[in-house]
Symmetry: C2
Subunit: 339 residues, 2 copies
DNA sequence: TGTTAACACGAAACCGTTTTCGTTATATTT
DNA sequence: AAATATAACGAAAACGGTTTCGTGTTAACA
């Protein structure tokens, strides 16, 4: 076991001072060509690499970014992480992932853990519990300490920071209009409770499209699930009673499960009933029939978030100016609607 | 913006020395009750939290663990990360995630980035390119430096370290036997090239089961995909020509896609043709019909890996003894086979 | 020959902790 | 009253770097 070599080791071995070694390795003009060559050769031979922690302490920069998300076993979040990781890595940053598991307390604990020097900034999406409680003090504390924060997807207006979202309202609006254009008359919405910022926006888009059409809104055609867990019975009853000819779902799972239910009843998709979901994951692609979805471009979102954060981290200026980037959703047409 | 407060700040404010503050906060017996109370009250008031980086430098312990995996957009890896994160967090560790994207070079770069003090140990699964090249010098260098490594799922015997795998051979063996027991005669295997350790083991289990039966092995019933990308045409041709009555697939996607193909031809699942896949992800659960799979228990695997790593990190002893934990796979029966 | 500039290098502070080892007072013992 | 013990605290080194500011040597110049 050969332990890592330090500047001190090199200095002792070559009988020069630590400062000389440090400068020589940085190719400083102060050091003679001769000494530089000796030091560099020695360093290369023993595979010297500066200790990241020491540099972090000196620079007060860790080159780590903290990502706090509710869940990692959701395709959307996974793609966001990938986008963050790719971009951050390219700029020399590492990504520390923490899961809040939709819990307010865990979100707070995770942030506290990281906020004491471990990271240069946060990228996060709020837990459902946090959105439900509307308690954002942990976020405010962090921003007040001067740690930059980028909020994505599940955001709040109560915190001053950069934000990245997709235009959920527009996505739902376009999807609903697609149904209307295709002559659908009984358009249902399966969503979750409104405290989730995204569900709220999607519901709004759905309503807007119906209001603008001559169909109008039938409140009973909206099914609100109390949580994100799927209540299979609720969906079954809803579909049987309401007999919609088109269904917009706020995620893939609601949609794919619903499709199976109506297929078992002998209905034809998309002739008798059409479906559009949110999130362009594996499920949509390989479902039978494949599911038309509003794609959220998670990877792009991750990239954009990471860029915003790192730019802020590396900017000396202490501008207190924050922006919200709104990404355009796109409708990925597959076999669950006519085309 | 109120900047973080340091020991030095408290010391100056209270007109004591830094060492006194440090000891007072640790409730040292050396310090008088009176001083301790003053210091602690002041620290609480200004919400003092020790700087993690400084502590890391002092202790030569970061309480970070590095996770290097090929891809995060695969359900299995995602569940492993969740298992790691949960367990590590409970023991006060953070998780730095790096993606190799199946590239040898990225794997090397990521490890080098982290190996200079950023982490206390690695948990990793090899990229396909690494397994293909059989070049493990980056792993050996790290272990020689005394940094503990735990390899999971995609492992190699050429590196001395702890390992966690599921018994892929057993899983495939049991799945194949299930087909045999149900009277299937033409049992196909759709897999990837053998350089992936898991595919190799699964193929072995498939062969073993067939050899032990009176069916014997028909090499043409094995379809090897050159990469993990799905070659839709190859699968289609294979299924049409070979007309198997049962198919074992090394992942979900191959299976779900194959199911759709044979359904389009009018075959009934599982009567005409049955399917079993690997990985118990969303796809299997919501496919139509739902897919029977060999569950890999990713979360458990992550937990076990994290426990092994942290135990080693925290053990003072420098025992050079490594173990390989083999987790039992379980068959999750769903509608793609008779039951 | 004395002054000065350039060169090559080292000492030391600093980042924020922890910890060992003094060093004072004050209290106790003989 | 002298010796010793104890309580309460501070100085300083250490972790591994970076960086500022000397400092000594040599060469060039007046």
């Amino acid at each position: 076991m050969k332990a890592k070599i330090t500047l001190k080791d090199i200095a002792r071995e070559l009988e020069v001072s630590i400062s000389t070694v440090s400068k020589a390795l940085k190719n400083s003009e102060e050091i003679s060509r001769d000494t530089k060559e000796r030091v560099q050769a020695f360093a290369k031979l023993y595979n010297y690499k500066p200790n990241n922690i020491a540099i972090s302490l000196k620079n007060k920069r860790t080159k780590n970014i903290g990502v706090v998300i509710p869940d990692i076993v959701h395709h959307f979040f996974t793609t966001v992480i990938r986008g963050i990781e790719k971009y951050a890595n390219a700029r020399g940053y590492n990504v520390i992932v923490c899961l809040s598991e939709e819990s307010f307390d865990k979100e707070v604990i995770n942030m506290e853990m990281l906020a004491n020097g471990s990271i240069d900034g946060f990228i996060m999406s709020l837990s459902s519990e946090t959105q439900e409680k509307s308690d954002y003090n942990h976020l405010k504390e962090v921003t007040e300490q001067g740690i930059p924060v980028v909020l994505f997807d599940r955001i709040t207006n109560e915190v001053d920071c950069d934000k990245v979202i997709i235009d959920d309202e527009l996505g739902a609006y376009q999807a609903t209009n697609k149904f209307i254009d295709q002559g659908k008359k009984k358009i249902a919405l399966i969503t979750t409770d409104d405290y989730l910022s995204v569900s709220k926006a999607r519901t709004k888009g759905y309503r807007k499209a119906l209001e603008e059409s001559n169909l109008g809104i039938d409140e009973s055609m909206i099914l609100k699930m109390p949580s994100m867990e799927m209540d299979e019975m609720a969906i079954k009853t809803f579909l049987n009673e309401k007999e919609p000819d088109a269904v917009l779902c706020v995620n893939e799972i609601f949609a794919v499960y619903s499709m199976r239910l109506v297929q078992e009843k002998g209905l034809k998709i998309p002739e008798d009933i059409a479906f559009i979901g949110f999130t362009d994951g594996v499920l949509s692609k390989y479902a039978n029939p494949s599911l038309t979805v509003v794609a959220q471009h998670g990877e792009k979102m991750g990239e954009v978030s990471a860029k915003m954060l790192i730019d802020k981290v590396e900017s000396e200026a202490e501008e207190e100016t924050y922006q919200t980037k709104i990404l355009e959703p796109t409708l990925v047409i597959r076999d669950s609607i006519a085309h």
